[in-house]
């Protein structure tokens, strides 16, 4: 039983798998960044699209992962492999500590608070706190991944590592959507009072979304820092957060294909139109408005009704 969506998914997977074979290195870099940004956008979508929390500071978690890897590697000489776990755990911990006191705030208030965290994060980086972050220039000379004497140093290696990370992320999202955790997030999103009355601890599941989203974004950040072998604050500022926020809504919140399309539209398309340097973002802004007017729920909106087949038998 093969439906249309899974056919498209498989075709895309095959295409992405062989992508490095027929592009030059510039496009390979774009492809790798597309994969990394997709992971970040999907993790943003856990918080925004699933739990329905207005979160506009996701670049901070992405940056925390990147800087954790960079600091541990450049300043303390740890191998990249050893920085992976901290790069996931640090954003999770920060998410918990920062978000727990404000998780009860109503939508727009939470939105500006998360923007605030992102701005504070950038100031911490720029002011080179404890001499660790390298200030406005950031940190350079991040190592490549080395396992048992083998160096994953080429661009193609980077691409496939990002590909695997996206695969893992999609696997997690699929499990999330088919578990009581993902469902609880949706219930909270759609009607908080009804969800509470069904025994759902709103605070717990909103925090769960934040912490899981932060961890995945941190993993992507770690990969991003290795890809460019450098990190600097402007890659993780509020403008980037707004981009991830927009990717989710333009693509279709809570929809896996939607978020991937969103990343393509918001990141890869502008790369394709680089020659129209100046007018590029003007057109882009118009496109954002038109997309929302024509597809208010995104280009590929989420479809509910993902239930086991045995329950569909009675459906007429």
């Amino acid at each position: 039983m093969m439906n249309k969506t899974s056919l498209i998914a498989i075709a895309l997977l095959v295409f992405m798998g062989f992508f490095p074979l027929f592009v030059d290195s510039a496009w390979l870099a774009v492809g790798t960044t597309f994969l990394v940004f997709s992971v970040v956008a999907l993790s943003q979508d856990i918080i925004l699209g699933r739990a329905g929390v207005f979160h506009m500071g996701h670049a901070m978690f992405f940056g925390l992962g990147a800087y954790t890897t960079a600091i541990l590697n450049v300043n303390f000489g740890l191998p990249i492999l050893a920085t992976w776990a901290p790069a996931v755990l640090v954003p999770m911990l920060v998410a918990f500590v920062m978000v727990a006191p404000i998780i009860h705030l109503r939508g727009d208030y939470l939105l500006v608070a998360t923007i605030g965290f992102n701005i504070i994060f950038i100031q911490v980086l720029e002011n080179d706190i404890f001499g660790l972050t390298g200030g406005p220039n950031g940190l350079f000379g991040i190592d490549v991944v080395r396992v048992l004497g083998f160096d994953f140093s080429s661009q193609t290696h980077m691409y496939y590592m990002a590909f695997i990370l996206l695969g893992i992320t999609l696997f997690i999202m699929r499990n999330l959507d088919k578990s009581k955790f993902g469902r609880a997030m949706f219930y909270i999103h759609k009607d908080e009072i009804a969800a509470q009355s069904m025994g759902i601890n709103v605070r717990y599941f909103k925090l769960y979304a934040f912490i899981l989203g932060a961890g995945i974004a941190g993993a992507a950040g770690s990969m991003f820092s290795v890809q460019y072998s450098a990190v600097s604050p402007e890659a993780f500022n509020v403008t980037q957060s707004i981009m991830f926020f927009t990717i989710v809504l333009v693509g279709g919140s809570a929809s896996l294909p939607g978020v991937l399309i969103g990343t393509f539209v918001m990141f890869v398309l502008p790369e394709m139109f680089r020659e129209f340097e100046t007018a590029r973002y003007l057109v882009f802004g118009v496109a954002m408005i038109l997309t929302m007017i024509l597809r208010p729920r995104g280009i590929w909106p989420v479809r509910f009704g993902n239930i086991p087949d045995f329950l569909k038998k009675g459906v007429k």
């Binding site: 499990n175 025994g199 459906v315």
Partner: protein
């Protein structure tokens, strides 16, 4: 433990200095169907919101099996086995009927925190068992044919059934129904009456607000009448029906269809 599972004693709730519930007391026996009636704006729904933790009454006690639950978070009250429906129907409108009912299985689900990320054999069993339970409830409420349809697209009467199925999916000890017959036609009301009886036979205690007098009088074993936030009468249906205070309260008010 006493024979009452829910004891409400001297509860008062104010909104910006105005009294919404005034020194209200009542006792609900296990297995009973308990009716609450009264004119519009009498504070009936406010009482339900106090029991289910959405509001915190300023004064009084709400004892569940002898323990005060006043002001607990709504999700904790649901975990204790007190589940409700809403007068204004609060379904997850974009989600399918089956997914809506599945929300009732939340507190019964044994999934661990890591199952949001990684499936385990125990998780697979749990997930399957809960969906099966959803299937049973859809059979019970004649909802099977709508399993995949977004709840918000269905008619009023069907939505009321989904809400009851959702609450029942949590295997409640006390089911609180806020005007279950509102907006239903005569046939649907009749069906609902039978359904409520069947739920009672499962051993579930039921409290309900209802304006359909015929239905509430035939179902309830005990009734409290509220007006202006205070109890004006209580007793078995036949007593309440003939109580002059109650008749006075109803004649004094113009509308009987909608609550506050």
């Amino acid at each position: 433990m006493s024979e009452y599972i829910l004891e409400i004693s001297h509860v008062s709730k104010y909104f910006q200095g105005l009294v919404a519930i005034n020194d209200l007391s009542m006792k609900v026996k296990k297995g009973q169907i308990y009716g609450i009636i009264g004119p519009n704006g009498a504070g009936k729904t406010t009482l339900f919101n106090c029991i289910t933790g959405i509001y915190r009454p300023e004064i009084g006690q709400i004892l569940w099996k002898g323990k005060d639950i006043k002001g607990s978070n709504p999700y904790k009250i649901a975990e204790l086995g007190i589940l409700r429906t809403f007068q204004t129907i609060r379904l997850f409108a974009e989600m399918s009927v089956a997914e809506n009912i599945m929300s009732g299985r939340h507190i019964k689900s044994k999934q661990r925190w890591y199952n949001g990320v990684i499936p385990t054999p125990a998780y697979v069993r749990d997930e399957k068992a809960n969906w099966e339970k959803v299937g049973e409830l859809m059979d019970f409420f004649n909802l099977t044919e709508y399993a995949t349809i977004p709840a918000g697209d269905l008619s009023y009467g069907i939505q009321r059934r989904i809400e009851m199925a959702r609450a029942l999916a949590a295997e409640p000890e006390l089911l609180i129904l806020d005007e279950p017959a509102a907006g239903l036609n005569e046939n649907e009301t009749l069906e609902l009456t039978q359904t409520i009886r069947k739920i009672q036979e499962m051993g579930v205690t039921i409290m309900m607000i209802e304006h359909d007098m015929e239905m509430v009088m035939s179902l309830s074993e005990y009734i409290t009448v509220i007006n202006f936030g205070a109890k004006i009468s209580e007793g078995v249906p036949s007593f309440v029906q003939d109580d002059p205070v109650v008749i006075e309260a109803y004649i004094g008010s113009d509308e009987e269809d909608e609550d506050e």
